[in-house]
Symmetry: C2
Subunit: 394 residues, 2 copies
């Protein structure tokens, strides 16, 4: 007789677990739910030595424990420059001015009354992988690629907003500015704003979290995360960039020549194996699944290759649907581990034909000064013990 049948017959076997032997809490105790206590290790983490303060700092998404293409809002990485602003939406305004015909100051209600759009897109800090670049071998996919998240964003397209204000002849750039203490501001090409930019008030169904810019942030599919201005309070239309500190002293790519690339907006094709990984070692030889993510700021992922021998041989990994432009794409590849050491790699190819480079190839072009836009192939060394290490191979 099964446990359940015995229970129905009135005799509860002594070995029944608590959750079968008795009732659990009812439906009123969690108006807003929480993960299981057995998942308490799945959290955002920071790197203490990385920044001088926690207010101008970052916490990282635990990619090793995630599935599919969506990042839960509670686990979505945060990069702030003056801490997490807690904005009252009733007081908040979005001002649109500069080279427009009809400047406006919009309340949240004004925004809700405009036709919205939904858009699934990843956002990634320009510095994702930056610690690697300078040679720090942080042992964890959370730190190696965890300044990354993907969500369905809902809001009003910038095109709709600028149709309301009108734009003057000669306008070419838009400055976006945040309402937090840092007042981070970035110059964005008007063409991009009219293409697919969104002033978003929702993320993954619910309103933005404060750490993601509540009540509104800019969404710029494919562009580096700092340009997705949070707590957005101002859009100014102009005819040239503003050369703010965030696009001159920060977020530029310093070349070996001493010159720096400015306005390098797009996050190029990238990918990472989330398991096995330093946080997800192997438990003896046998069947496993190589789980990973790929993404490109230039469109759809066309193909992902996986190597278990450090890039000598590659096999194509099947991609999970949906494969959406400028969104995370998930791949799973069955793999039988024979117990020997292995060098796991993946590389993304996007619909433009761009192939994710090795770190060697990228360094030939960029040198070692730049810390942003490191989209080079990540290598995990699987030891014979099953432990996994972050290594760089020539």
């Amino acid at each position: 007789m099964s446990g359940a049948a015995a229970a129905r017959a009135g005799g509860i076997p002594k070995d029944l677990p608590d959750w079968t032997a008795g009732m659990g809490p009812g439906v009123t105790d969690e108006p807003y739910g929480a993960p299981s206590k057995f998942e308490a290790h799945v959290v955002r983490r920071n790197v203490e030595w990385l920044t001088a303060s926690t207010e101008s700092s970052v916490n990282f998404t635990p990619l090793q424990d995630l599935n599919g293409i969506l990042t839960p809002n509670g686990l979505f990485f945060e990069r702030h420059h003056s801490g997490r602003a807690d904005v009252d939406p009733a007081q908040h305004r979005l001002v649109i001015h500069g080279m427009v015909e009809r400047p406006v100051s919009l309340t949240m209600e004004d925004l809700y009354r405009l036709p919205p759009v939904d858009r699934i897109a990843f956002t990634e800090c320009a510095a994702n992988g930056g610690m690697e670049w300078r040679g720090a071998q942080l042992n964890g996919v959370q730190f190696v690629r965890g300044m990354l998240g993907c969500a369905q964003w809902t809001g009003v397209s910038v095109r709709t907003l600028l149709e309301h204000t009108g734009v003057r002849l000669g306008a070419k750039w838009v400055l976006a500015e945040g309402a937090d203490n840092a007042a981070l501001d970035r110059s964005i090409p008007l063409d991009k704003m009219l293409d697919d930019a969104v002033v978003a008030y929702a993320q993954n169904g619910e309103r933005l979290r404060p750490g993601q810019g509540y009540p509104i942030r800019l969404v710029l599919p494919g562009y580096e995360g700092n340009m997705w201005v949070k707590w957005l309070r101002r859009l100014e239309v102009g005819d040239e960039p503003w050369y703010t500190r965030w696009e001159t002293s920060k977020y530029t790519d310093l070349l070996p020549t001493g010159k720096a690339i400015r306005f390098s907006f797009v996050q190029e094709a990238n990918s990472v194996i989330t398991a096995p990984s330093p946080e997800k070692p192997l438990n003896g030889p046998g069947p496993y699944v190589i789980r990973g993510l790929a993404w490109s700021g230039n469109g759809r992922i066309a193909r992902v290759d996986v190597s278990t021998d450090g890039g000598k041989n590659w096999v194509q990994a099947p991609l999970q649907e949906p494969v959406l432009p400028k969104a995370l794409t998930r791949f799973y590849l069955p793999w039988r581990w024979d117990g020997g050491s292995a060098l796991l790699q993946c590389r993304a190819i996007d619909e433009t034909g761009y192939v994710q480079p090795t770190i060697e190839a990228l360094r030939k072009v960029r040198g070692r000064n730049a810390i942003y836009h490191n989209n080079s192939i990540v290598t995990w060394l699987v030891n014979t013990t099953g432990e996994v290490e972050n290594v760089q191979v020539a």
Copy 2:
């Protein structure tokens, strides 16, 4: 001089809000994040008179406050029959037995080692809208259609599992049983299980919440929610259904003749306007957006029509991408309210050509006994005050 410019220059204007004048909390205080305090009203709610206990009861998704097609895990409706089980994944097993060649008892680690699939799908309680059916005019979209949610689910397809166990000649049904105190069990056609059923361990990126069946639940795209067995512990393969209490005394559709339809699995095409709605009244004449959701257990939504005059005239609402089979589909339709009374309706048409019926048409077929599978058109009466009421029109 703008506030930000003044702040940079050292003089902070007195009217600057706190979040601009000073820094917010750093990145270490919320390892797992939470919504803004200004969104505290966005919660699951229950209906006190509906059930005799909170353990065998339901809480409802606040559809009126949601965007896009994904339901956040913290706001996903819960229907339990013996409370929310809190299962230890280390102790949990999935047993597959009956008419199989090789019965198995799988640990969670065994499941992780099998190739996974991702699938975006809605789940809906068979009783969604059931209170309406008996004439209760609950004033809120949360209660009228809130036993509904949509997520990206990740797990192992049942096909993969049954390929491992093998299935004996003549097998036609599979019993799925939960590990909670109710031990809810349902008979599911083998064909459905081999088509698109998934033993899921993740929802919207992270592991299932306890209220959704942690560590594993059955995902049956398009089928009624109670069959998506939570805390899944057992799959038994057989050659006929088991006629459990959950498919004989419960979850059947009682016809006027006294006969009952059993095994009515599919949630047919349905839709609802989430705003304006009783919870989202209008604030004076002017431009608004009619926001709504449509879904069908039979495939993709092909079209959504919207009426503002109780079904006399209809206009087609644009659908937001992605439009996925057996998933929620979002529509937004701009609407200018002239301040007069209006009767807002929407109706879904799916790719099979099925048109969501009026309640009158459905009652002609079903009578008034059945409380399940009420997918009839919902009507919101907009009063001249802007308040919105749930009404039924002939």
